[in-house]
Amino acid sequence: MSKINNIIDVKALTKVFNGKVRAVDGISFTVKEGEILGFLGPNGAGKTTTLNMLATLLRPTSGSATVNSHNILEDADAVRRSIGYVFQDPTLDLELTGRENLDFHGRLYGLERIVRQQRIEEMLEVVQLTDRADDLVKTYSGGMKRRLEIARGLLHHPKVLFLDEPTLGLDPQTRRSIWEHVQRLNQEKNVTIILTTHYTEEADYLCERILIIDFGKIVALDTPGKLKARLEGDVVSLVFKDPAVIVRIRPLLEEKEWIRSINVVASGNSYATMSHMMQMMRGMSGSIGIGGMMPGMDSGSIGGRGKIPKQVQQMLAKGMADENGQRGRDKGAKCLNLLVDNGGHRIPEIVKLVDEAGVILESVELHKPTLDDVFLSVTGRDIRDERGSFMEMARRHRIVQQARGRRIRG
């Protein structure tokens, strides 16, 4: 009986928003007890929507799933008791202390006084917040708040913990400490963990298996090692001074049978722009609080659903100009990634070929395939570069954000 050790069993789960956006499109997978599974995908891929359906906050359009053997459609309360959910946006009561936030949660889940107090002490200990437990949460740092939320999610001893973008917006040091906490909790409490992320390094570091999701569909599901092993060989990155030459050089490279695949990749700087923009978009949909998360945002736009902050408007306008006006001279895409066997030995040949074509190379890089490359190969897009389909992603993201809230189940 495979059902016994599959703590989550998802069958053809689908969510359609507004009758047109297929946010989650017929996905099926199982999760074993004690596993850490990562949903990897860009914003708007359907990660949070999937979690919300599994958490019974959102009713699927079709398909079904069981969590801890309870059906998400038939026994929502039993499912809810089986899970802890750490949402992407902060959900703490800032005017209460850390301990009071935990106490509120314990009572809400019907824990007896003695059990409650015992577990609160224990969880505070685990996330190292004991000495700050009686301070108001509004005095906590971002990492402390996140740790408190994780502690809270585990207070009622759920079998499964959902972590939605657990380290979004945290500095690298704090991120590392959250990862360690998550791993320790998984090992010590044998909690099955499902986390969503769009950081490939996070998925690589934490997850036993990674489910790559794109436009609502599963495009890959395997261990990080096996995913990377799919891409045998090395990745050679060619960076050009003038992006326009990519169009010229690509056909020449495609003729070489030893080059297994070619992908156009953005330069690094579009990433910073993207994540900044995505943060603002989340603010736009009214789901993020005020405090310091978006320093550039004027308070006039807070809470106004549909009101677009000026900066985002400018960026959107710029993005459109880039897409429409500069198609050939794409500043973001000035790099070609070639997947080749024995990359180091092929470099002289590649350089010669490029040189003969009269094209100026800025630099050449050689590296082993990373999850970024895996993502690129299965989706045809760079996870960091959402430019190509940015307007589509932005539109999807907005519709899903709005519709998601409206239909949330009580």
């Binding site: 309360d77 008791r81 949402f87 959900t91 209460l96 009572r107 809400l108 019907g110 009580g410």
Partner: protein, 262 residues
């Protein structure tokens, strides 16, 4: 979907409201001070040339209305605070728990009613100290009855606040809410003038204000009489209207909250 009630959930939401009320000292102080200014300036000021209505002096006449003002503002804003719970995400924490939305909102309404009534009791004491009520044995009984009336008044208005808060998504609408809902409810409740001396259109408007009946009932409790317009059974009529208003508002508030977006 069937929504079973959970006593524990109602209690914990109520507890949170009480904690937050107790911690927001500035809110308590400003509300008490505001009511005191009303009583001191209007009560004594207007009272000095109006004198009073019948055997009741102006300060005494105004006192139940000013208490009502505190109840009204406190309860509506307490209900509207569901907007903040949504904005700051805490609502999600409550909604993902294995408890019904009805339990959560009943806790919220109960919490709002209790905190606003505590406010009312403080105001009643302030008015008492200022000499608004004749200290007799019946006043003790009246004051106790008034506490019950306060809970009745506030529960309905928290429901109204929840209904509004579940419909609005915007802090900016606060100003509109204040100008077009709370102030008219307050001004038409008969705080400053008795209903039987004003022109007919104003009388009709006042009769449509649920807060008018709340203030009436408080007057019955604290002064032993209400407006002659409703007759000697005015307290019973007011009680009936308030109970009806409560049922309606708690129902509407719960319904709108259940289907509101997060």
């Amino acid at each position: 979907m069937v929504q079973p009630l959970s006593g524990q959930a109602i209690y914990v939401v109520l507890l949170r409201e009480l904690k937050q009320y107790w911690r927001a000292k500035a809110r308590i102080i400003s509300s008490v001070a505001q009511s005191f200014f009303f009583l001191a300036v209007f009560g004594l000021g207007i009272g000095s040339f109006v004198g009073g209505f019948g055997s009741i002096n102006y300060l005494s006449y105004m006192a139940p209305g000013v208490i009502g003002m505190g109840l009204l503002f406190g309860s509506v804003f307490s209900g509207v605070s569901v907007i903040f719970d949504r904005q700051f995400g805490f609502m999600k924490e409550m909604l993902v728990a294995p408890v019904s939305r009805t339990s959560i909102i009943l806790g919220k309404i109960l919490g709002g009613a209790v905190t606003a009534s505590i406010q009312g009791i403080i105001l009643m004491a302030v008015a008492g100290i200022m000499g608004a009520f004749t200290p007799t044995i019946t006043l003790v009984a009246g004051a106790l009855a008034a506490v019950g009336v306060m809970l009745l008044i506030t529960a309905g208005f928290v429901g109204l606040g929840v209904a509004i808060g579940s419909t609005l998504n915007d802090f900016h609408a606060f100003q509109l809410l204040s100008t077009f809902v709370i102030w008219p409810l307050f001004m038409l409740s008969g705080v400053f003038f008795p209903i039987d001396v004003v022109p007919l259109p104003l009388q009709v408007a006042m009769l449509f204000d649920p807060m008018f009946y709340g203030v009436e009932l408080l007057r019955w409790c604290l002064l032993g009489a209400g407006t002659p317009l409703l007759g000697p059974l005015g307290w019973l009529i007011s009680l009936g209207v308030l109970i009806g208003f409560n049922a309606l508002m708690i129902g509407v508030g719960t319904y709108l909250f259940s289907r509101a977006q997060v």
